[in-house]
């Protein structure tokens, strides 16, 4: 299973765009990249998932270069409520695979006023 590396923490100010990059150098052909968000005292929540190029939803954008060895989660115009831990996961696109949802330490984003 591809190991992921992301910054331990980041600070930002309200209204700024935040980009969190995750490295996954040994990603396999059938692996997908997924990001989760976790607020204090809550379970993680799915944000976005992608395989290659760019994916955008109402919450975030995910940029994946052609070699897929990294990915960048982009949060536009963050607010104080975006303060959370963000997890990057690389998961295999097959069933019966418990290690599909193995979370690293994540990136603790602090949004300041």
């Amino acid at each position: 299973l591809a190991k992921t590396t992301q910054p331990i923490s980041m600070d930002s100010y309200e209204g700024q765009e935040v980009n969190i990059t995750c490295s996954h150098n040994n990603i396999a052909t059938n692996d997908y990249i997924t990001w989760y968000q976790q607020f204090p005292s809550q379970g993680p929540r799915f944000i976005i998932q992608g395989y290659k190029t760019k994916v955008t939803n109402e919450v975030a954008s995910l940029f994946i270069p052609a070699d897929r060895k990294s990915s960048t989660l982009s949060l536009p115009r963050v607010s104080l409520s975006d303060t959370a831990v963000y997890y990057c996961l690389v998961a295999r696109g097959t069933h019966n695979y418990g290690q599909n949802f193995v979370f690293g330490p994540g990136t603790r984003l602090s949004v300041l006023p």
Binding site: T34, Q42, P44, H95, G98
Partner: protein
């Protein structure tokens, strides 16, 4: 139910006692996961159930930990002879069967906060 439900939400137990934690997944979700999260740390994978297949127990930290699931319904995580280092939030998640080529998202419960004193 509308989401993944875990009970109890909080549990305080004495060292050496056994505890049972319960998870009700979203109806129709065949996959169920248990995680442990210590204060200020990331999620630690414990065990994974997928339908009637043999569970993936590779994350269980010791033989004091066990989990059961009947079919595609409720799961219980049991910790025997609890130790202080077992104090953590135990999170359960469920997802639909992962179809070929696409990994589906996991839905998490609020967790059970276990404190061993």
């Amino acid at each position: 139910g509308a989401g993944v439900s875990q009970s109890p939400s909080n549990k305080v137990t004495e060292k050496g006692k056994d505890v049972e934690l319960r998870c009700d997944p979203i109806s129709g979700h065949t996959a169920l996961y248990w995680y442990r999260q210590r204060l200020g740390q990331g999620l630690e994978f414990l065990i994974y159930f997928q339908g009637n297949s043999a569970p993936d127990k590779s994350g269980l930290p010791s033989d004091r930990f066990s989990a059961e699931r009947t079919g595609e319904s409720v799961s219980t995580l049991t910790i025997q002879r609890t130790q202080q280092e077992d104090s953590a939030v135990y999170l359960c998640a469920s997802s639909t069967r992962i179809s070929s080529g696409l990994n589906t998202e996991a839905f998490f419960g609020q967790g059970t906060r276990l404190t061993v004193v």
